[in-house]
C-alpha cells in the first residue's frame, strides 16, 4: 500500500540519488554474477522497489515485468537447489571468464558460489516461465549410495540406542514387502531428504500491476531463502555431512543428490527409500517441514522438505557388525544383519543367524551354520542355561544339518562315517554336557548325517563353532563358550559313549557296504579306540578325549571286545533301529530318542560305536586290511597297557610310518601315518587333553585354540581309523594320498609352510577378520569360477598374516600337546616325553588332518615322525595337515572354509581322500561307498585340482571336520 504512493517519490530518489551507490555496487558484482543474475540484481538492487513501475504499465503487465517475473520463477528453483545442495555436497565453483574468482549467485540476496554442475540438471527450470512453460515441481533428493561399499563393509544405521542396523537389509526387506518402487530410488540407496520446490498453479491471469508486486515477492523470497539456508543446516543430514566431512568418511557416506522433475502426483502412496524405516523405532521415520507459501502472480511458491529424522549412518566392517551382533547376542539384530547381506537367503535352519549366513555363503553351509550355532548360542543358550552347551548343541545340530547336505552331495558314506564319528563324538560330548538334549541331537545327526554324509555333518559342526568364534568376534566369548563347552564336553565325554550310539547308525550304512571290511577294521579300530577310550576315558579327560574318540573309540572299545562278526550283525540291527529313530526324531525328538537310545541301549550305542568303528574300519579295511590289522595290533597292544601302549604304539606306528614315508614324498609324513595310525589314538587323547589346556590356557589363542581344538578333535578320530591302514597297506594309494598331500603341500607350501598356521591362522584370522566379510568374499570367490585360486590367494595372504599367529598357535599346540600329555595321564604315560611332544603335535596335525583319518594318519604319522624328530616336524605335520586341508579346503572355501576347511581338509579331507584313494579301487568294486569315497577323494583331489565339487566337499568336510574337532575337544 505504501508502495504505490511512495513508489514514485522514493523510486525517483533511489534511481537518482542512491541508485548510484546501489547500482555501482551491482555493477561491481556484475562481472562475477551470472548474466541472468546481473539483470535481476540490477533491477532489484537492495531495494526491490527500485524497479521502475510507470503508471502506463499498469494496464498490462509490462514485458519487462513479465521478464522479471520469469526470472524470479527460474531463479526461485535454481537458487533453492543451489542453497540446498551447497549445504550437502561439494559443488565445484564456476568462474567467470578470464578470472579466477568464483562466480557468486546473489539472487534473493543470499550470496552463494555458483556452479556449473547443476546447469544441465536444472535446465528445465532455467528455461521456464510463468505462462507458457511453467516449471514442474523441482525435487531434490539427497541420499547415500551403498554401491561404493566394499564387500566387507556394511552401511549401518544407528538408532537412538546406538544399536546398529544393516541398512541394505532393511531396504531389501522393504522391497520385498513393496515390490513396486518409485523410479527415483534405486535398490541400494537410502534417501535422506527430499526437497520439493514448487510453483503452484494460478487461476488468475497476471495482474496488471505486476511490476509493483514483484518487489514484495522478491523481498519475501529473501526471507524464504534465508530460512532455507538456515533450515538446511538444522536437518540431520547436515549434521551427518558435517560429521563425515571432518572424519573423512567412507565414500559410501558421502551424500549424493539427484534432481528430479516432480510430477503432480508425486505424493503417491508408494513406499520409497526415504520413508521406509531402517529399524524399528517408536519415533517417526521422516518429518516434513514446510517453508510456507509465498504468493506470487504466477502462483504460490512453496518449498518443503521431507527428511529422515535419523541420519546416523556409519560404515562398519561387516565382520565387526556381525561380531557386534554376536556380542550383543540380540536375536533381532542377527536377523536383520544376516538377511541384508545375503539376499539369497536360505532358511535351512530355524536359526535366524544361520539363515543369513547361508545366504551369504550359499555354497558354504558351514559359516551359516556357524553363525547359526552362534545364534543358537544366544537363543538356545538362555533356554538351556548353559551357553557352551547350547553352543555345542548348535554345533552339533548345525553339523548334522550341514553334513547331511554336503555328505549326501559330495562326500560319501565312508568318509562321512569316519568324519561322523568325530562329529558324533563331539555331539556326544555336547550332548553329555547338554544332557539328554545333546545326545538326541547327536543321535539325530548321525542318522541324518550318514545318509547325507556323516563326515560332512561332523565336520560342519566343528567348523561352525570355530568360525562362529572367530567370525563372531566374540572370539573371546566363543573361546569362553568353547572352553566351557570343552569342560562340559569332557564331562560329557564320559557319558558320550552312550551318545556314540548315533554313530552306529552311520555305521549301519557303512556296514551295508562294507560289512566284511568293517568287521575287520572295526575290530582293529575298536581295539584302538578301546585302548584310546579306555586309556583316555580312564585317564584325565577321558570324557573329552573319549568324546572325540568317544564316538569311535568308545564304540570301538566295546566293539573291540566283541567279535567283529557279532559286532557287525549287532551294528546292522542297531543301525536299522536307530535309523528309524534317527529318521523319525529330529533334533528335539532326536534328543529324546537319543536319550532313550542311550539309556535303553548302551549296548546299542556300543554297537553303533562298533558300527562306526566298523565303518571306519571298513574304510580302513577297504583302504588296507593289512594296515588295519597292524593298527589293530598296535592298538591292541596299546589297549593292553594304555599309557605304555601309547608309547609303544607310537613307536610301532612310527616304524611303519617310516617305511611308508619313503613312498610318500614327505617321508616324515608317511612314517607318521603308520605311527599316526597306531599313535593316532594317543594323539587323540593327547590332543584332546592338549586342546583343553590350550583353550583354557590362552584366551588369545582361543581362536587358534579353537582351530587347534577342531583339528585335534578330528585328528583323534581320523588317526584311528583310516589313515594308518590305507597308507600302510597300499603304498600306491598312500602315494596317491601322499601325492595329494604332497601336492597340496607343494602347492600350498608357501602358504602351507604353516599349515597349522594357515589352518589355525586362517581359522583364527579369517574368522575374526574375515568371518563375515571373508565369508562373503569366500562365497563370492567360491561362486566365482576360480574360487580355489582365490581361496588359495586368500589363504596365502592369510597365511602371511597368520604366520605371526602361527608360531603362537604352534606353540600353543605344542604346549597344548605337552599340556595334553600332562593332563592326559594315559597319553603322557603312554607316550614318552618325546612321544608326548610328538603326540601333541600329532594331535595337532591330526586335529587338522584328524578329521580325515587318512590325512591325520598321514599328517599325523608325518607329524609323529617329525614330532619325534623335531618340533619343526610338528610344524611340518601341521603343514601337511594344513596342506592337505588347505589343498582340499583351499580350492574352495578358503576363507570361510579356510577355518573349517583347512582344518577340516587337513583333518578329514586329506585323510579321507587318502583313504578314499586307497580304498577307491576296492570301494568301487565293493559298493556305492566306494563311489562316494571316490567322489570324496576326487573331491579332495579335485580340491587340490581346484575342482568345484572337491572344494565344496572340502568345505563341507572342513566344517564337518571342524565339528569333529570340536567334538573331540568337547
Amino acid at each position: 500500500m505504501h508502495q504505490h504512493p511512495r513508489s514514485p517519490a522514493p523510486t525517483a530518489p533511489t534511481s537518482s540519488a542512491r541508485p548510484n551507490s546501489s547500482r555501482s555496487r551491482e555493477l561491481d558484482y556484475r562481472p562475477n554474477s551470472p548474466a541472468v543474475d546481473v539483470r535481476v540484481q540490477n533491477s532489484r538492487g537492495l531495494g526491490i522497489e527500485a524497479e521502475p513501475v510507470s503508471p502506463g504499465q499498469t494496464a498490462q503487465p509490462a514485458k519487462e515485468a513479465i521478464a522479471k517475473l520469469n526470472q524470479i520463477i527460474s531463479n526461485y528453483h535454481t537458487k533453492a537447489a543451489l542453497i540446498i545442495l551447497h549445504s550437502r555436497v561439494e559443488l565445484p565453483p564456476s568462474f567467470n571468464k578470464g578470472s579466477d574468482t568464483p562466480r557468486v549467485n546473489r539472487w534473493f540476496n543470499v550470496e552463494v558460489e555458483d556452479t556449473d554442475v547443476l546447469r544441465e540438471q536444472l535446465r528445465t527450470w532455467r528455461t521456464c516461465d510463468a505462462t507458457e512453460n511453467r516449471p514442474p515441481p523441482l525435487i531434490i533428493e539427497t541420499y547415500l549410495d551403498t554401491k561404493g561399499l566394499t564387500n566387507n563393509q556394511t552401511l549401518v544405521a544407528l538408532d537412538e540406542n546406538g544399536k546398529r542396523w544393516d541398512v541394505l537389509e532393511a531396504l531389501a526387506a522393504s522391497q520385498q514387502a513393496h515390490p513396486v518402487r518409485p523410479p527415483s530410488s534405486s535398490s541400494d540407496d537410502v534417501i535422506l531428504e527430499r526437497w520439493r520446490v514448487e510453483l503452484g498453479d494460478t487461476p488468475n491471469k497476471l495482474p496488471v500491476d505486476l511490476g509493483s508486486i514483484l518487489p514484495t515477492i522478491y523481498k519475501k523470497s529473501i526471507v524464504l531463502f534465508r530460512s532455507l539456508f538456515t533450515y538446511s543446516k538444522f536437518l540431520p543430514a547436515w549434521k551427518f555431512a558435517k560429521r563425515n566431512g571432518r572424519l573423512r568418511a567412507n565414500p559410501a557416506l558421502r551424500i549424493k543428490y539427484r534432481i528430479i522433475t516432480g510430477c503432480a502426483n508425486q505424493q503417491s502412496s508408494k513406499p520409497d527409500h526415504l520413508t521406509m524405516p531402517l529399524y524399528e523405532t517408536s519415533s517417526k521415520v521422516v518429518e516434513t517441514y514446510s517453508f510456507g507459501v509465498t504468493e506470487s502472480p504466477a502462483g504460490p511458491f512453496s518449498a518443503q522438505v521431507t527428511y529422515r529424522t535419523s541420519c546416523d549412518f556409519r560404515v562398519d566392517d561387516s565382520e565387526a557388525l556381525l561380531s557386534s551382533r554376536f556380542m550383543g547376542a540380540d536375536d533381532e539384530i542377527f536377523r536383520p544383519s544376516l538377511p541384508t547381506r545375503v539376499v539369497d537367503s536360505k532358511v535351512p535352519h530355524p536359526e535366524v543367524g544361520s539363515l543369513p549366513q547361508e545366504r551369504r555363503t550359499v555354497e558354504d553351509p558351514d559359516p551359516g551354520r556357524a553363525y547359526g550355532s552362534l545364534s543358537t548360542f544366544h537363543q538356545v543358550g538362555p533356554t538351556t542355561s548353559a551357553s557352551p552347551i547350547s553352543a555345542l548343541r548348535a554345533k552339533g545340530e548345525s553339523g548334522t544339518s550341514s553334513p547331511s547336505s554336503p555328505g549326501s552331495s559330495s562326500r560319501k558314506a565312508m568318509t562321512i562315517a569316519k568324519a561322523s564319528p568325530v562329529g558324533r563324538a563331539a555331539v556326544l560330548a555336547s550332548e553329555a554336557s547338554a544332557g539328554v538334549v545333546r545326545r538326541p541331537s547327536i543321535s539325530f545327526q548321525p542318522f541324518k548325517a550318514p545318509p547325507l554324509s556323516a563326515s560332512p555333518s561332523l565336520v560342519d559342526p566343528p567348523l561352525p563353532s570355530p568360525r562362529s568364534a572367530s567370525g563372531a568376534h566374540p572370539p573371546p566369548s566363543m573361546a569362553a563358550s568353547i572352553r566351557k563347552s570343552f569342560p562340559a564336553v569332557q564331562d560329557n565325554g564320559l557319558a558320550s559313549p552312550s551318545t556314540a550310539s548315533p554313530r552306529p547308525a552311520s555305521i549301519s550304512r557303512y556296514s551295508s557296504a562294507f560289512s566284511h571290511r568293517r568287521g575287520r577294521p572295526s575290530g582293529g579300530i575298536n581295539k584302538l579306540e578301546d585302548d584310546n577310550s579306555s586309556g583316555k576315558a580312564s585317564a584325565t579327560s577321558s570324557a573329552q578325549p573319549g568324546s572325540g574318540l568317544l564316538a569311535e573309540a568308545t564304540g570301538t572299545s566295546a566293539d573291540s571286545i566283541h567279535a567283529d562278526d557279532e559286532n557287525i550283525s549287532d551294528f546292522l540291527k542297531m543301525l536299522d533301529l536307530r535309523k528309524d529313530l534317527l529318521n523319525t526324531s529330529q533334533s528335539a525328538t532326536l534328543d529324546t530318542t537319543a536319550r532313550r537310545t542311550t539309556v535303553t541301549s548302551a549296548a546299542l550305542t556300543r554297537f553303533q560305536r562298533m558300527r562306526d568303528s566298523n565303518a571306519a574300519l571298513s574304510d580302513s579295511m577297504s583302504s588296507s586290511l593289512l594296515l588295519q590289522r597292524s593298527s589293530n595290533s598296535s592298538s591292541k597292544q596299546l589297549s593292553g597297557v594304555p599309557p605304555m601302549v601309547a608309547g609303544t604304539s607310537i613307536s610301532t606306528a612310527s616304524s611303519p610310518g617310516k617305511p611308508i614315508s619313503p613312498h610318500t614324498p614327505h617321508t616324515p609324513a608317511i612314517p607318521s601315518r603308520l605311527s599316526s595310525n597306531s599313535i593316532v589314538d594317543y594323539n587323540h587323547t593327547e590332543v584332546n587333553e592338549v586342546v583343553l589346556p590350550q583353550e583354557h590356557g590362552s584366551p588369545l589363542h582361543v581362536n587358534t585354540s579353537d582351530e587347534t581344538l577342531m583339528e585335534h578333535g578330528p585328528s583323534i578320530v581320523n588317526p584311528i581309523d583310516i589313515p594308518t591302514s590305507p597308507r600302510l597297506f597300499p603304498p600306491a594309494y598312500r602315494r596317491s594320498s601322499s601325492a595329494a598331500h604332497r601336492r597340496r603341500t607343494i602347492a600350498v607350501d608357501d602358504d602351507e609352510i604353516f599349515p597349522f598356521n594357515r589352518s589355525v591362522s586362517l581359522g583364527a584370522e579369517e574368522r575374526s577378520n574375515v568371518s563375515l566379510g571373508a565369508l562373503h568374499r569366500q562365497h563370492e570367490y567360491e561362486n566365482s569360477g576360480p574360487p580355489t585360486h582365490r581361496a588359495q590367494r586368500e589363504t596365502r595372504p592369510l597365511s602371511l598374516n597368520e604366520d605371526p599367529a602361527v608360531p603362537p598357535t604352534s606353540l600353543s599346540r605344542e604346549q597344548g600337546s605337552h599340556k595334553g600329555v600332562t593332563p592326559g595321564p594315559t597319553v603322557g604315560s603312554s607316550s614318552s616325553s618325546h612321544h608326548h611332544v610328538y603326540q601333541p603335535r600329532f594331535s595337532h596335525s591330526r586335529g587338522r588332518g584328524s578329521s580325515s583319518g587318512h590325512h591325520s594318519l598321514s599328517s599325523g604319522s608325518s607329524s609323529l615322525a617329525r614330532g619325534t624328530a623335531i618340533p619343526p616336524c610338528l610344524a611340518e605335520r601341521e603343514r601337511d595337515g594344513n596342506g592337505s586341508g588347505s589343498n582340499s579346503a583351499t580350492s574352495a572355501m578358503e576363507d570361510r572354509r579356510g577355518i573349517g576347511q583347512r582344518p577340516s581338509a587337513g583333518r578329514g579331507g586329506p585323510p579321507q581322500s587318502a583313504q578314499l584313494e586307497e580304498d577307491e579301487p576296492l570301494l568301487f568294486a565293493m559298493s556305492d561307498f566306494g563311489a562316494s569315497r571316490r567322489s570324496f577323494e576326487e573331491g579332495r583331489h579335485g580340491n587340490h585340482a581346484h575342482d568345484p565339487s572337491g572344494n565344496v566337499a572340502g568345505s563341507r568336510r572342513g566344517s564337518g571336520r571342524r565339528g569333529g574337532g570340536f567334538h573331540v575337544w568337547s
Binding site: S7, P10, G47, V110, V223, R226, T230, F234
Partner: protein, 201 residues
C-alpha cells in the same frame, strides 16, 4: 498504513549457562537478523552446542551484538554476586527491534527534528528472555546442557516459523540503502519502552 499499529512482538526463551550464554545469544541474535537483514549477504555459519546457525558477515552488526551480550553478562555477574542465593538463575531480557523509515506525513513540521523528514517506526520486536544458569554439579551440568540444547532448538525453530509465516508486516523496502530497516538491540527494555520512546508521539 496504520503507523500506530502495535508492532508484532515475539518472545524467545533463552536458557544458557555462563560458559555458553555468549554463543547462544550470538546464535539467536544472528538467526533473527539473518532473516531480517535484507541486504545481500554472504551467509556464514558458526556452531553452537550441536547446532549450526547462520551468521551475517557484518562488522557493525557483530559489534553491536557483542556489546549487548557483554552488557548482559556483566549484568548477570553483578546480579549473581549480589543475589547469589537467588537459586534458579538470573534473568535478563534483550530486545531486538526493527524499524522502518517513514517519511513524516506532516512533512515539514518536524523536518528539522527528524532529519530528512523521516521517522523510524518499529515494525517488529523480538524479546529474548535470557536465563543464565550456574550448574554446580556434573549432573546439573548435564541437565543444563540438555536444556540449553532444547531451548536453543526451540527458539531457532520458532524464529524460522515466524519469519516464514509472517512476512506481510515487513515494510516495503523503499530505499536502496545498504540496510533498509534500522535495528536496535536493547538490553532490559522497559516493558513499554519502545512505545514511550518511539511511540506514537
Amino acid at each position: 498504513m496504520e503507523p500506530r499499529k502495535t508492532p508484532p512482538e515475539y518472545f524467545l526463551e533463552i536458557f544458557a549457562d555462563t560458559t555458553t550464554v555468549r554463543d547462544i545469544l550470538k546464535g539467536v541474535l544472528n538467526l533473527i537478523f539473518f532473516h531480517r537483514y535484507f541486504p545481500s549477504i554472504r551467509p556464514t555459519t558458526f556452531d553452537v552446542l550441536d547446532f549450526t546457525l547462520p551468521a551475517i558477515n557484518d562488522e557493525d552488526l557483530e559489534t553491536l551484538i557483542e556489546s549487548r551480550i557483554s552488557a548482559l553478562v556483566r549484568q548477570h555477574s553483578s546480579s549473581a554476586a549480589s543475589a547469589q542465593e537467588g537459586g534458579g538463575g538470573v534473568r535478563g531480557r534483550i530486545a531486538v527491534e526493527f524499524y522502518e523509515k517513514r517519511r513524516r506525513r506532516s512533512g515539514i513540521w518536524f523536518g528539522g527534528l527528524a532529519g530528512k523528514g523521516e521517522e523510524e517506526v518499529c515494525w517488529e520486536v523480538w524479546n529474548l528472555d535470557v536465563t543464565i544458569a550456574t550448574p554446580r554439579t556434573e549432573s546439573e551440568r548435564a541437565k543444563v546442557r540438555k536444556a540449553m540444547e532444547n531451548m536453543l532448538q526451540k527458539a531457532a525453530l520458532k524464529i524460522l516459523a515466524v519469519v516464514n509465516r509472517e512476512k506481510d508486516h515487513i515494510p516495503p523496502i523503499t530505499t536502496s540503502d545498504s540496510n533498509p530497516f534500522p535495528y536496535r538491540i536493547v538490553l532490559n527494555p522497559r516493558s513499554d519502552g519502545w512505545q514511550n520512546r518511539f511511540g506514537l508521539y
